[in-house]
Symmetry: D2
Subunit: 261 residues, 4 copies
C-alpha cells in the first residue's frame, strides 16, 4: 500500500533545487541546512507524505521515478538530461519488449530509464569502456532497480564491434558515434533505429556523413530539444529566468536495405 | 525475419514531409505525385528497403514506430506531438507495467504510445467524451497495435469521476484539466503522478491553482518543450527555417499525503 | 500635423499577414480581396486612421517605420529580419552620427534602417556586387527615405577592398564575410566593430577563424536571435504556433591593436 | 586619433564574464584577480589595444558602446537587456531625430542607448518616480554621455500624465504600463508608437486589454526575444550551455484615430 519501508530509496523534496534520493534506514538521519530528518519518523508513512522536521520545515517524501534518478546520478558526471531521454525513447521507438544496445553506460542514468521502459520482456545491453564508470554504474543500477535481469553490462569498446544482433535500437552517447555506424548497421534488425547524442556540431556533421554513406541509413533526422520551465504564480506567471540552452544534439536514423536498388 | 508481409502497415517514406503509413495488400497500389507504388513489388522485401518505382523515384519502406503513427493519426485532428509525448513519458515516469489513465482519447495517438510503453504487464484506461472520437480511436488502435488487451476504452466524461484506482499516473489532454484534480487525487496511488497538457496560459494557471489547493499535490512543475530540427549538409548546416514554436504547456505534479502535518 | 498627403507612402493594415505599403495618389485605388480602397477617401485623414471601405472591412492607415519597410522590401528577396537588424544595431553600437560600411546592399532593407539611425551627421556606405540588386535598392531607397544624402551606394565587390576609412562599424550580409576581415581591420577605427550575418554554421566557423587569426579582433561573440510572438487574447493567451526558428547567425568583434604586445 | 586619454571611460576586457568600464586616471590603477593594471601604461595607447600586465595576463582596452554600458549599469539593478533594447528600437521605429518619452528611468541603461540613437536632433524625456533612481541615473548618464542636451530627466509619476506632446514613441518599463495607455494616446503623434516591457504574463494581458479598448491602438504585437550564444571553436562548436531564457515580454502598438469610423 505504498508505505515507506526500512531500506527504501526515497526522494526527499524541499524545492526544485534542494532534493535528494536517500536510503531510509532505521536509526539513521539526514542532515540538511534546514534541519535534521530522522528516518524513524518516516518509516511506515505513505509515499507522498509532507512532514515537518524539528526546524519546522516541511519536506515531501516521494517514490523516485527514472528522471529523478537521472538527475541524482548526473550530479557526479555529465548525463543525458531527462528532456533528451524522452526524445530518445520516442524517436527511437523504445517500448516494452525492445532489445536495445547502449554505449557508453556512464553513470547508468539513461540505462535505468531504458531498462524500466523495455521491461522484463525486453533487454538493455550497455557498453562501457572505462572501468571506473562501469563499476559506478553497476553500483547505481543496483540502487535504482529491483533486479538487473534485463540489463547486461559490458566493459568493452563498442567501436570494436557489437556482440548482439537483431536489435531494435542502438543508442550512443560517446565521443565518436560515427565509428559505430557500420557495426550498428550489421546488428540492427531491418528498419532498426540508430540514435546518437552529441554536444558539438562537428560531431553531428561526422555522424550524419557516416550514416548517409552508401545510403546505409534513411530517415535521418537531427534535433535538439529545449525545455523551458514556467513559474505559475498568481499575478506573477512567467518563464524562469535561466534555462539549460544546450545539452546535446540527437541524430536518429533507420537501417536501410539498399542492396535491392 | 522482418520481411514485409501482405497486410502489414508500412511507412512509405519519400522525405520528411511526404511519407504515409499504408496497409500493404497484394494486388493493390498507392498513387503519389511521384508515381505509383505497386504493393506486390514490396511484399517479401526486408523492412528498410529502398526501392525505385517506375517513375525512377526511390522510396523507403520502414516499420512504423509509435511516433510515426502519432504524426499520421494527427493529420486529421490536433494531437500531442511526439516531442510532448516524450516529455510526458519521462516526467510522468511511465514505464513497462505502469497503470495509467488518459483523457481524452482523441484519435488515440498518445494512447498507442502509452500502451506500447506500459506493455502487457501494464494497462491504459482511456476516457473520451465524444462518440465520434471514441470510434475513430478504436479503429485507429486496431490498425496500430497487434492486440488491445492492455487498453480499456471508455466513452465517459472523466470530470464525473475515475473508475480505476491505485493508478501510477493520470494524463489529461482536455479543455478543463483542473476539474479532474480532485478525482485524480482520489485514484492515484501514493506519490502517483498527475500530468496535463494545455495550449493556453489561462489553462495552466487554473490547473496549477487547483493542484496547489490544500497542498493536495507537490513537486508541481510546468514546462514547454521545443524541438528544433537541424539540417546537416556539408557546407550548409543550419537549423531549419520554420519550427513549431508552441503546441502546449505540460503540468506535472505528485500526489501528497498531507493529512499528517 | 501628420495628415496623409497625396504622394505619401502609407502602411495599409488589415492584419499581421495582410498589410501593404502603398503610394497614395489622388484618383487611384488599391484592390484587396477584402474590397477596394479609394485613395481619395484617405488623403487628408490623420495617420493612424481606421477606415471602412465599401465592403465594410476596416483598414488602418499608418506611417511606415523602418521595420515595416524591411518586411515589404524583403518579400522579393531574402533579407535581414527586423529581429536581427535590432541585434546588429545594438551589438555594433550603431547610433546617430556613426560612419558605417555595409555589404551587400541587397534590396536596401537594412540600408534604410541604418541610414535612419545614423541620421544626417552619420553616413552609410553600401557595397553591392550585383547590378540588378544595386538598381532595385536605389529605387527602393528613394521610396523609403526623404533624401539619400547620408547614403553612398557602390556597385563594387567589397572583397577587393574598402574605400572609406575611420569607420565605426562594418556590417556584412554576404556569402564569404571571412574574405573581408583583413580589409575591415584596415579601415575600421580603433576599437571599431565588425558584424557579419550568415545562415550556416560553416560560415560562422570560417568567419570566427579569420577574426581570431593574429588576434586581429577581440570580444568575438556569435549569437542567434529568436523572436517569439505571443497571442494575447482573454482566456486564450499563448505563443503562436509557428515561428521563424532560424534566419542567420551574427558574429560581432572589435578591432584590436596587438602590435603593442 | 582614437587614443586613450586621461579621464576616458574604457572597457577593460578579459573575457565575456570579466570586463569592466573604468575611468582611466593618471597615477591610478585597477586591481583584478589577474593582477594590477596601471592606468599610466594605458594612457596614449590606441583603443582596442591588447596589453599584458605584470602578471602576464592580456587585457583588451575598448571604447565602450551603449550595450556595454547597459550591462555595466545593470549590475546594480534589473535592466532592459541589450537584446530587448534592440527589439524596442527596431519595433518602436526609434531613429535619429525621434522624440521619445521613457518611464521609468531606472539606472539610465536604456536612456543612454535611446539618447545615442535619437542624436542631437531628437530628444528623450525620461520619467522616474523614485528619487534614488533619479539621482543614480543622473550620475550614470553624465559618465556615459558627452552631453545631456538631448535628455530631459523628470522626477515624476508618468501615471499622472505626460507633459510633452507630438511624441514619436513612448517606452514603458514599469510595473503598471496599462495605466499609462490613455496618456500615451493623448500625447503620441498620429500613428505614434506605444512600447512596454514587462516580465509577467499578467502584465501583458492587462496592457493589451487597455490598448484594445475603444480601438485606441492598432497593430498590437506582443513578443519575447531570445538571444542564444554560440561557442565557435574548431572541433567544439556548440551553443553555450546556459542562457537567459526570459527577461520580459514587449508589447508594441500604434496610435489609432478611430473617431472617423
Amino acid at each position: 500500500m505504498d508505505l515507506i519501508q526500512d531500506g527504501d530509496y526515497v526522494l526527499i523534496y524541499l524545492d526544485a533545487k534542494r532534493n535528494w534520493i536517500k536510503k531510509i534506514e532505521s536509526g539513521k538521519e539526514f542532515h540538511t541546512n534546514k534541519g535534521v530528518i530522522k528516518f524513524d519518523d518516516i518509516i511506515g508513512k505513505p509515499y507522498g507524505s509532507l512532514l515537518k522536521n524539528q526546524a519546522n520545515v516541511t519536506f515531501g517524501f516521494y517514490k523516485p521515478i527514472g528522471s529523478d534518478w537521472a538527475y541524482q546520478l548526473g550530479r557526479a558526471t555529465q548525463i543525458i538530461y531527462p528532456k533528451d531521454a524522452g526524445a530518445i525513447i520516442i524517436n527511437a521507438g523504445i517500448k516494452s519488449g525492445s532489445r536495445v544496445v547502449e554505449s557508453g553506460t556512464g553513470s547508468g542514468a539513461l540505462t535505468q530509464i531504458l531498462a524500466q521502459v523495455v521491461g522484463p520482456t525486453g533487454h538493455v545491453y550497455t557498453y562501457e569502456i572505462k572501468e571506473s564508470n562501469y563499476k559506478t554504474a553497476q553500483k547505481n543500477l543496483r540502487k535504482v532497480l529491483d533486479d538487473l535481469e534485463n540489463i547486461t553490462m559490458k566493459l568493452k569498446d563498442i567501436c570494436e564491434g557489437i556482440d548482439e544482433d537483431n536489435l531494435d535500437a542502438i543508442i550512443l552517447d560517446m565521443a565518436t558515434p560515427w565509428e559505430v555506424v557500420p557495426h550498428a548497421w550489421e546488428k540492427l534488425r531491418n528498419s532498426g533505429i540508430f540514435a546518437s547524442y552529441s554536444p558539438t556540431i562537428e560531431q553531428i556533421m561526422k555522424t550524419v556523413k557516416a550514416l548517409t554513406e552508401d545510403k546505409k541509413f534513411g530517415m535521418i533526422k537531427t534535433i535538439e530539444v529545449l525545455e523551458r520551465e514556467i513559474m505559475v504564480r498568481e499575478g506573477k506567471t512567467r518563464p524562469v529566468t535561466w534555462m539549460v540552452a544546450h545539452t546535446g544534439y540527437m541524430v536518429f536514423a533507420r537501417k536501410n536495405q539498399n542492396s535491392s536498388i
